[in-house]
C-alpha cells in the first residue's frame, strides 16, 4: 500500500466530505419522523428498523462528519462513510429499478424536487470514491510500511 500521494487533495476531500455529512445530518436530526417517512418510502426495511435507522443514522452522519472535519479518527469515520454511501447507492439503485417515484431523503426530509434518481446515484458514487480514497490514505499514513 502506498503512502499518501496527494496530501492537499486528501485534506480537501476530508473537509468537504465532513462538512457535507454534518450538513446532511442536521435536518434529519431535527425531524426524525420526516426522515423515517423518507426511509419507509424506499420500502426496504421493516417498520421497527425504519424508526431505529431514522433515529440513529443522522447522528452517525454527524459524528463521522465532525471526525473528518477535525481530523480525529479519520480511518474509522471514512470507513463508516464509505459503508453508508455503499448502502445509499444500493437503496437508490433498487428504488430506480423498482420504478419508485420517491424523494431521495439525502440532504433534508422535505425536498420535493429531489427525487431518488441518477443524479443522486452519481453523487453518491463520487462520495464513495472520496471516502475510499480518504480511508486508504489515512490508514496508509498510520501504518508502518510493509517489510
Amino acid at each position: 500500500m502506498n503512502r499518501i500521494k496527494f496530501p492537499r487533495i486528501a485534506a480537501l476531500l476530508r473537509l468537504g466530505l465532513g462538512a457535507l455529512f454534518i450538513y446532511a445530518s442536521l435536518g434529519k436530526i431535527m425531524d426524525p419522523a420526516g426522515f423515517a417517512l423518507s426511509i419507509d418510502n424506499y420500502r426496504m426495511l421493516p417498520e421497527f428498523l425504519v424508526a431505529l435507522m431514522a433515529a440513529v443514522l443522522p447522528w452517525l452522519e454527524l459524528l463521522c462528519g465532525l471526525a473528518l472535519v477535525f481530523n480525529c479518527w479519520t480511518p474509522g469515520a471514512s470507513l463508516l462513510i464509505f459503508a453508508m454511501n455503499a448502502i445509499f447507492i444500493i437503496a437508490i439503485a433498487s428504488a430506480m429499478a423498482r420504478g419508485l417515484d420517491i424523494s431521495c431523503g439525502c440532504f433534508s426530509t422535505s425536498e420535493a424536487g429531489s427525487r431518488a434518481g441518477l443524479a443522486h446515484l452519481v453523487e453518491d458514487l463520487f462520495f464513495l470514491a472520496a471516502a475510499g480514497y480518504l480511508y486508504l490514505s489515512s490508514i496508509a499514513s498510520l501504518q508502518p510500511p510493509q517489510r
Binding site: 419522523a33 421493516p46 459524528l63 474509522g76 463508516l80 417515484d101 424523494s103
Partner: protein
C-alpha cells in the same frame, strides 16, 4: 495478512465506537425530542380501523378501510398530485391540495377539519406525494392523517373516478 492490512484493527475499533456513540446519542435525542418517533412500535395494518389519532406518523389505510370511512363520512379525501392529474380523474369528493406548492394554499390547509380523518393519496404504488404532504399536515398540527398508498392505481381497478373540478365539497 493482506486483509488486516486493508482493515486494520484500529480503524474497525474507531468505526465500532462511532457507531455505538451514534446509537446512544440517537436514541437519547429521540427520547428527548417532543417530535421523536416510536421505536419498536407494533406494525399497523389490522383490518379494523383504530380511531385513535396519529401524532407523528401518517397512518397507512387500505381500500376496505377507506371505503368504510367514506361510507361513514368520517374521512376527507385529499389528492396530492398535480392539477392536470387531478382533473384527469380523482376519487369522488376529493379535495385537491398538490404537494408541490402546498404552502401557497396554507390558509386552505389550516381550514381543514381536525375532527375528521384526512386521507391523502397520489397515483399509487410508486408515488410519495401523499406521504410528503401528510408529513406537512402533521407538522401543521393535524392528528388524524392517513395515507391511502394504493392510490389512484388501486382505486380505479374497481371504482369509477370523477373527472374535472369538485364543487361545494369544502
Amino acid at each position: 495478512m493482506q486483509f488486516s492490512r486493508y482493515l486494520p484493527a484500529f480503524a474497525l475499533r474507531q468505526a465500532l465506537i462511532l457507531t455505538l456513540a451514534a446509537l446512544v446519542l440517537g436514541l437519547a435525542a429521540n427520547q428527548l425530542n417532543p417530535r421523536g418517533i416510536a421505536i419498536g412500535a407494533a406494525p399497523t395494518g389490522a383490518a379494523a380501523w383504530d380511531d385513535s389519532p396519529t401524532p407523528v406518523y401518517p397512518r397507512p389505510i387500505t381500500l376496505d378501510q377507506l371505503q368504510g370511512l367514506m361510507q361513514r363520512r368520517a374521512a376527507l379525501l385529499i389528492d396530492a398530485r398535480s392539477r392536470e392529474e387531478y382533473l384527469d380523474g380523482h376519487l369522488p369528493g376529493a379535495l385537491h391540495i398538490p404537494f408541490e406548492g402546498w404552502f401557497e394554499q396554507i390558509d386552505r390547509v389550516r381550514a381543514l377539519p381536525h375532527e375528521r380523518w384526512l386521507v391523502l393519496y397520489c397515483s399509487g404504488g410508486t408515488c410519495d406525494l401523499a406521504d410528503l404532504l401528510a408529513g406537512e399536515l402533521i407538522r401543521e398540527g393535524f392528528e388524524k392523517v392517513a395515507v391511502y398508498r394504493g392510490g389512484i392505481a388501486e382505486y380505479r381497478l374497481a371504482n369509477p373516478l370523477k373527472r374535472g373540478e369538485e364543487a361545494g365539497r369544502e
